[in-house]
């Protein structure tokens, strides 16, 4: 269990993190979402004991991070932003150093290294210097060092940044495949990642917590939630008017004149029954019909934009 209470970090006059409070339970994969400079990385740096908060408390598995950082660090695996590593070392030497610091010796150490190398597929570059590796491999080396001691708590700052789609997929599968009793916190500004791997998401902007919920709950806040995309086979003159008149429709966006529309429901209710009835009545041939689950990026923009205009007004 991670418990964060009123966490605040000020750099001079600038408040990077502002009274952030949340808890994370084992088994959760928490996504930190927010625009650049929202305070995601600063929060992670405080969770891992790299930065000292200006105010507030952090406990991880009952350990006070502010007073016993080493004890907390022993059960945390951390991938810092940009996956820094000692470039002049080979992957094998680097992982060996990390394993030693994590308290492994001899055959146990070798076994930990072998496991993690297989897990993130580093066999091919094991004896290459880290500075000669591609961005994707460097990131995987960073993941390997974070996973080497099979940590209870895994904190990953933008784990898929700079990876190609295949590598991204691989990393996400890896995160999903982690044992169910772990706590995983990832930060990202890629919203699809949240739907793909997170069981819960926090949206942060200007250091403040704006939204906290499961990805589908956040999606439900989107105006696209349960919106229906309808594409007719051919143009109908009265289509727009008919759809607008439909019960429960809030607004209709005409994407292609007389043929393609987006129907936004009132209060996020499902419109399908009404729509099917009208289509049946009018005998319009339908080419495509699609119900939107909601768009996270839409919610994200809405929430963070509101926050920044509010901040500007203050």
């Amino acid at each position: 269990m991670i418990r964060v209470d009123n966490l605040t970090k000020q750099f001079g006059e600038f408040t990077a993190v502002n009274q952030l409070s949340f808890t994370v339970a084992p088994g959760e994969v928490l996504g930190f979402l927010g625009p650049n400079g929202a305070g995601k990385s600063t929060t992670m740096k405080m969770l891992t004991g790299f930065l000292q908060p200006s105010a507030g408390q952090i406990t991880i598995e009952g350990i006070n991070v502010l007073t016993d950082p080493q004890q907390a660090q022993a059960i945390i695996g951390y991938l810092p932003e940009g996956a820094p590593a000692y470039g002049e070392m080979t992957v094998a030497a680097f992982l060996s150093f990390i394993a030693e610091v994590r308290g492994y010796q001899g055959s146990e150490k070798q076994q930990r290294i072998d496991t993690v190398v297989a897990q993130v597929e580093l066999q091919a570059v094991l004896h290459k210097r880290i500075e000669t590796l591609s961005k994707g491999f460097t990131r995987r080396v960073g993941l390997a060092q974070a996973l080497i001691h099979d940590p209870k708590v895994l904190i990953l700052d933008e784990p898929t940044d700079g990876l190609d789609p295949n590598q991204k997929h691989q990393v996400r599968e890896l995160i999903k495949g982690l044992a169910a009793d772990k706590i995983v916190i990832i930060s990202t500004h890629i919203l699809e990642e949240v739907s793909a791997v997170c069981s819960r998401a926090l949206i942060i902007a200007d250091g403040r917590l704006l939204l906290d919920g499961k990805p589908h709950e956040l999606e439900a806040q989107s105006r696209y939630h349960n919106a229906i995309l309808i594409e007719l086979e051919n143009e109908q003159d009265d289509a727009l008017a008919t759809l607008r008149a439909l019960e429960g429709v809030d607004s209709v966006e005409e994407l292609e004149e007389g043929r393609c529309f987006m129907l936004f429901p009132q209060g996020g209710k499902l419109l399908m029954r009404e729509l099917v009835r009208v289509l049946d009545e009018k005998q319009w041939p339908v080419e495509n019909l699609h119900v939107e689950k909601g768009r996270l990026d839409d919610v994200f923009r809405q929430v963070t934009h509101a926050a920044s205009t509010q901040a500007a007004a203050v």
């Binding site: 740096k45 891992t48 790299f50 080493q70 945390i76 951390y78 150093f97 610091v101 210097r129």
Partner: protein, 244 residues
């Protein structure tokens, strides 16, 4: 020794020798030490079976070589962000500071040991007092440690290795010359205890005493205190950067 400190030392030494930097450094150190000893120190012309000509130039050699080692202790870690990795491993600040310093000091020791042919030369040509020579090596290594400890502190203050280098040279220079008459004359107005204090801070006076074969406990304490103080300041600066 603490296993964390040992791991840090091992990693640092690995990095020194993973690139040509270490080899170039040792080579240049040996070449310059040789040039100083034989040309400026008139090793042969003096006709004495000792290594005074060799040790006398060590403070000046170290003035540039030690800051060059020390600038790499922390600045690149800050520049490249690896400090975030290092300081979020279950290592205390003291373990990191000590490990890095000891690695640099061992490296300086290796460079110093590589000068052994000069001892063979003098032993071949005459009958030197090996005790004095050993004292010279010990004193030289202690002085190197003090330079490195100052450099460690300067390096933790900046991301920029060049700035770290220059600041270290300046601070080391001040500690070197604080014992020479020119500086002490500038303190002519001051009470005697202050003059003694300033003179007592000098590396040069301490090192000269040791390299003459006189190992005075006070001189050993001086070097130990210098190393301790500057490493303490290193750790203090690290702690401060955590609070920013």
């Amino acid at each position: 020794m603490n296993s964390m400190v040992k791991s840090v030392i091992k990693r640092e030494l690995y990095s020194y020798f993973a690139t040509p930097v270490a080899y170039v450094f040792i080579l240049m150190f040996l070449v310059l030490a040789g040039v100083f000893t034989f040309y400026l120190g008139h090793f042969y012309e003096r006709g004495q079976a000792d290594l005074a000509a060799f040790f006398n130039f060590h403070p000046w050699l170290y003035l540039f070589f030690m800051p060059a080692i020390a600038m790499g202790l922390w600045s690149p870690e800050r520049q490249l962000g690896t400090i975030e990795l290092l300081m979020t491993l279950p290592i205390t600040q003291w373990q990191a500071v000590a490990g890095k310093f000891i690695a640099a000091w061992l490296f300086a020791g290796i460079a110093l040991l590589m000068t052994f042919p000069i001892w063979i030369t003098v032993a071949y040509l005459g009958d030197p007092d090996n005790g004095v020579i050993l004292a010279g090596y010990v004193g030289s290594w202690l002085m190197a440690g003090s330079f490195l400890a100052i450099g460690s502190c300067m390096s933790v203050l900046t991301k920029n290795q060049i700035i770290a280098f220059i600041m270290t040279v300046v601070v080391c220079f001040i500690f070197m010359v604080s014992g020479v008459p020119m500086v002490l004359d500038a303190f002519a107005w001051a009470p005697q205890w202050l003059i003694d204090f300033v003179a007592g801070l000098s590396f040069l006076t301490r090192f000269e005493a040791i390299s003459r074969g006189v190992i005075d406990l006070r001189d050993l304490i001086y070097f130990a205190a210098m190393i301790g103080l500057w490493l303490y300041l290193t750790q203090w600066a690290l702690q401060r950067s955590k609070h920013q």
